[in-house]
């Protein structure tokens, strides 16, 4: 009853407030080579708007590059030297916007917000002058110059497919054996329970590896999404994520008695959070704090970041060390829990 009445309320709250495509308080970096009155007031305006928070002031491109790699900023605003002078003497000046287009939607939104603010500023300073000022905005879309949606959804789909195949299928097959009574036969046989469980998991690991390869081949050759980083690293990380999903499947199967329950729990516990909280559909930065906290326990969130970093941004292991360790930790946790529960059932 509570579910029936509570569900719509929860959903409307989550979808209405939490999951919005609108970008607020995006972290940006400023490279101000001019440091004059005009740039100062433009920066103030950017910072004052609710869309942007100036996170860092950089002194060269190298720093901006580093920030993008770390994923701390979504957009960089670059003023060339003599910005104000150019504006005064030639009535025209340049500003460059660099956006992290590994998430094309966010990149698009942010650059249009920034351009709007710049045009606003340009119109205001023009008001009391005879000659109109023009500020030319140059856009650069980092990692994904053509703003292809595939750059965003390939990593997301990878996370989803692996999670679904591994977790749901492992949970279901093991529970199926329980339902059929064959699991009992296995357990009275000389086979060790660990071996039985392992034997159930291995086929899905292999299946997932094939899935990963298929998705990667399709994305490279059909969707033109490049793999900018190391393919080996990407595969290893994917296998790690597969293992996390498998352990999660084992954990679920140790706890439930029927295939329907296994399916239901896999869907509720995995599918929805993966879609909503991994950052794939809705940017995590814009979620209210409670949801942001919850998103930390969604394995797909970390994997999604890893795939984006390695595949789209072409980064190495040092950039995704934290995510890798978190996934490894999750795997160990799920696995020990699963084995423990399995043992309790046997005792």
């Amino acid at each position: 009853m509570f579910i029936l009445l509570g569900m719509p309320v929860v959903q409307i709250v989550i979808f209405g407030f939490a999951l919005t495509n609108e970008v607020k308080n995006a972290h940006i970096a400023i490279l101000d080579a001019s440091k004059d009155a005009a740039t100062a007031s433009l920066i103030t305006e950017l910072n004052a708007s609710r869309y942007f928070d100036v996170e860092r002031y950089c002194t060269d491109y190298k720093q901006i590059d580093d920030e993008f790699k770390k994923g701390t900023i979504k957009l960089a605003v670059i003023f060339p030297a003599h910005f104000d002078e150019d504006l005064q003497h030639f009535n025209t000046a340049q500003v460059q916007l660099i956006a992290d287009a590994s998430d094309p939607n966010v990149a698009n939104t942010l650059t249009s917000y920034a351009s709007a603010i710049i045009i606003d500023f340009q119109n205001r300073i023009t008001e009391n002058k005879k000659l109109p000022y023009t500020i030319n905005t140059q856009l650069r879309m980092l990692y994904n110059p053509q703003l292809k949606g595939a750059f965003n959804f390939v990593p997301g789909v990878m996370a989803m497919v692996l999670l679904l195949v591994c977790t749901m299928m492992t949970a279901i097959t093991i529970v199926k054996e329980k339902e059929m009574g064959t699991m009992e036969i296995m357990l009275v046989s000389p086979m060790r329970p660990q071996i039985v469980v392992l034997a159930k998991a291995v086929p899905y690991l292999l299946l997932s590896i094939i899935n990963i390869i298929t998705i990667l081949l399709l994305s490279v050759y059909v969707l033109d999404v490049p793999i900018n980083g190391s393919v080996v690293l990407l595969m290893l990380e994917s296998i790690l994520f597969t293992l996390v999903s498998l352990s999660l499947g084992l954990l679920i199967s140790a706890g439930v008695a029927s295939q329907q329950a296994a399916m239901f729990i896999s869907l509720i516990a995995l599918f929805l959070p993966t879609i909503m909280l991994s950052g794939f559909m809705f940017p995590i930065e814009n979620m209210p704090l409670p949801l942001r906290v919850v998103s930390h326990i969604v394995p797909a969130r970390w994997y999604y970041t890893i795939v984006k970093s390695v595949m789209i941004k072409g980064l190495g292991i040092q950039a995704i060390l934290k995510e890798t360790l978190i996934l490894a930790g999750m795997m160990l946790f799920f696995l020990t829990m699963a084995v423990k529960r399995f043992k309790i059932r046997l005792a």
Binding site: M180, G181, T182, E184, I185, M186, V188
Partner: protein, 248 residues
Amino acid sequence: MSNNKVITANELTKTFGDFVAVDHISFEVEKGEIFGFLGANGAGKTTAMRMLCGLSMPTSGKATVAGLDVYTENEKIKRSIGYMSQKFSLYDDLTVKENMQFYGGIYGKKDAFIKSKTASILQELHLEKEANVLVKSLPLGWKQKLAFSVAVFHEPEIVFLDEPTGGVDPVTRREFWNMIYQASANGITVFVTTHYMDEAEYCNRVSIMVDGRIEALDAPAQLKQQYHAASMDDVFLKLARKAVRAAD
């Protein structure tokens, strides 16, 4: 302790929290014996059986199966026993032959053994034509007989049958019991739980569990005499009515 005793239980107890599922039961089963293990639902039959199969650790008491201790040698026990549960327990989506190969493989039997054994079972059950048929398309009675054959496939010392004839027609039940006698004649000890009191009559000895304790243990004829009953059914009812614990 004589070598003829394949199962011994001494004050065997299993508790789940405050609930005493099996309450200090003691009995012995001899080699080649067909031992009926009777009791109402919830009397503790399955729990007792699970302890003997090494699926569940006893809380206290002693027990040996095939001369092996249930506490310390439960992995070894698993090699010497066969098991058939009340749930049908073959793989529906494997063929008759594949099921036998699979279970033979689990018990670590050699290919040659599996091959000859499979052939002889198929012949015994008159299933030669169905060797490559999926198990799910067999009638229930055949499946149960096949399941029993699979349970004794690796020629165990003891086979545990947990309500093996549930939902099976009388003719097949009769055939099933013939198979049990056959196994017993071959020296396999049969430990069987059942709800059918006519089947209890087929056993060499039966024990009747009530509320986790063994209330009676003897040959069916002796039990009938002792309780002045015409059939095992009456014996069972007289004993089962004493139960305090609700059946589940």
